[in-house]
Amino acid sequence: MKTILNVNDESYEVEAALGTSLCDVIRETIGLTGVKKGCDSGGCGMCTVLMDKHPIFSCMTPFWRAENKKILTVEGLADQDRLSKLQESFVQNHAPQCGYCTPAMLLVAKALLDSNPHPTDGEIRSALGGVLCRCTGYNPYVNAIMQAAREPRSK
């Protein structure tokens, strides 16, 4: 099936078998490999993308479900060379380790701060609940997000 997907504000014409997941289409057809496939069963969160601002598991989403929606992946966060506030904070706080979960962490954090600019520690942890991390123990990410939330909106 052929359709047009809007990813990171760009239109992509894609063609794939009906059973193909959004994750596979983004990675293989469109070529954005920031989305990862950690378990392909909606359990680990590596495949998280934002669909109309909501975090979803792209491995479990048929690609045609993304029609007429806005998909955001990690590649859409930075503005050319300028990292987003969250990305900056992740770097400053040395939050990522192997980096495999980092795209998903950034996206769920962005979704959180966009709807709740001053979350509590508990709210941050709940928002991260669908993203597994084996390296960091989560706390460095929570600190980085808390710090990004405290900073004033950048110009």
Partner: protein, 292 residues
């Protein structure tokens, strides 16, 4: 094992059209609502001979409205919409919102639908037990038989089995609003993000003129092949005051059966913790009613 590889995508734009498609394709078709439970099934090889996928997203079944003294939830409403709806503790069906808010992880909350959860027939899911407690009615339609309404106690038949026939489509779930009534939902998991080892939902209604319980519905999930009601506990509370002693007594009565064990919780453990959950759910529901 070959993963499922459908070749036809149907995207009906009306309920009639959807019903006709269901009749046409029968078991060679599968409905896609949130695609969450379905995906698990596909991974296990359960959909290998499914050729046609029926996408319901164009049916405008994503709504939450109140009229006729009831809450009407479209079958395609996602948990996130229910979780952020304007239901309050004053509403007798508040537990639906509470269950939606407690559904984890967030990504699934943003994808899964109320209808899909109800139709899954999976006893440890959160929506079925909640809908049973809040006396929900399920509205279904098929092209041959037209519309029918099914009460919650008749809806869940067995593991993976609801009363819906292969050609029937669930369109709406209706939850009645009762005066001086509220509800709550609680669950116990292994970790914070988890399916329920045991879950419970209760709906308490007080008499109009005095603080005695006129209707009590206590539903338990993850303890049998379907969500079930704790009849003994319910019967004990009818006509009683919603006092702490009565609640604790009732909670301990919620055990007139052997809960079925699961991979991660024995029957014995479930028996031990069911009274705790029922007690907590009763306290929450009662407090909500008394606050209004």
């Amino acid at each position: 094992m070959v993963r499922y590889n459908p070749t036809v995508l149907e995207r009906p734009s009306s309920i009639n059209e959807a019903a006709q498609l269901l009749k046409k394709w029968g078991s060679k078709a599968r409905i896609v609502a949130g695609n969450t439970t379905i995906y698990e099934l596909a991974n296990q090889g359960g959909l290998d001979d499914v050729d046609t996928v029926i996408d319901l997203s164009k049916l405008n079944l994503n709504y939450i409205t109140r009229y006729d003294g009831s809450l009407h939830i479209g079958a395609m409403t996602r948990f996130v919409e229910l979780a952020s709806s304007n239901l309050t503790g004053n509403d007798s069906y508040f537990a639906a919102k509470e269950a939606a808010m407690k559904l984890t992880p967030p990504q699934i909350r943003n994808m899964a639908t109320i209808g899909g959860s109800a139709c899954s027939g999976i006893p440890f899911y959160d929506m079925p037990v909640t809908l049973l407690a809040i006396d929900a009615e399920f509205h279904a339609t098929s092209s041959d038989e037209g519309e029918r309404t099914i009460k919650a106690e008749d809806f869940f038949i067995d593991y993976f089995v609801t009363t819906l026939r292969a050609e029937e489509l669930l369109t709406e779930i209706v939850c009645p609003n009762k005066e001086r009534s509220s509800s709550s939902f609680v669950k116990l998991g292994r970790t914070t993000i988890d399916f329920a080892l045991v879950n419970a939902a209760v709906n308490i209604t007080l008499e109009p003129k005095r603080n005695r319980m006129s209707e009590v519905r206590i539903a338990l999930g993850a303890v049998a092949a379907t969500p079930i009601r704790a009849k003994s506990a319910e019967d004990f509370l009818i006509g009683q005051e919603p006092s702490r002693e009565n609640i604790i007594k009732a909670a301990s009565l919620g055990l007139d059966f052997e809960p079925s064990p699961s991979l991660h919780a024995s029957s014995k453990y479930k028996k031990r913790v069911i009274p705790i959950l029922v007690r907590d759910a009763l306290f929450a529901a009662v407090n909500r009613v008394l606050r209004t």
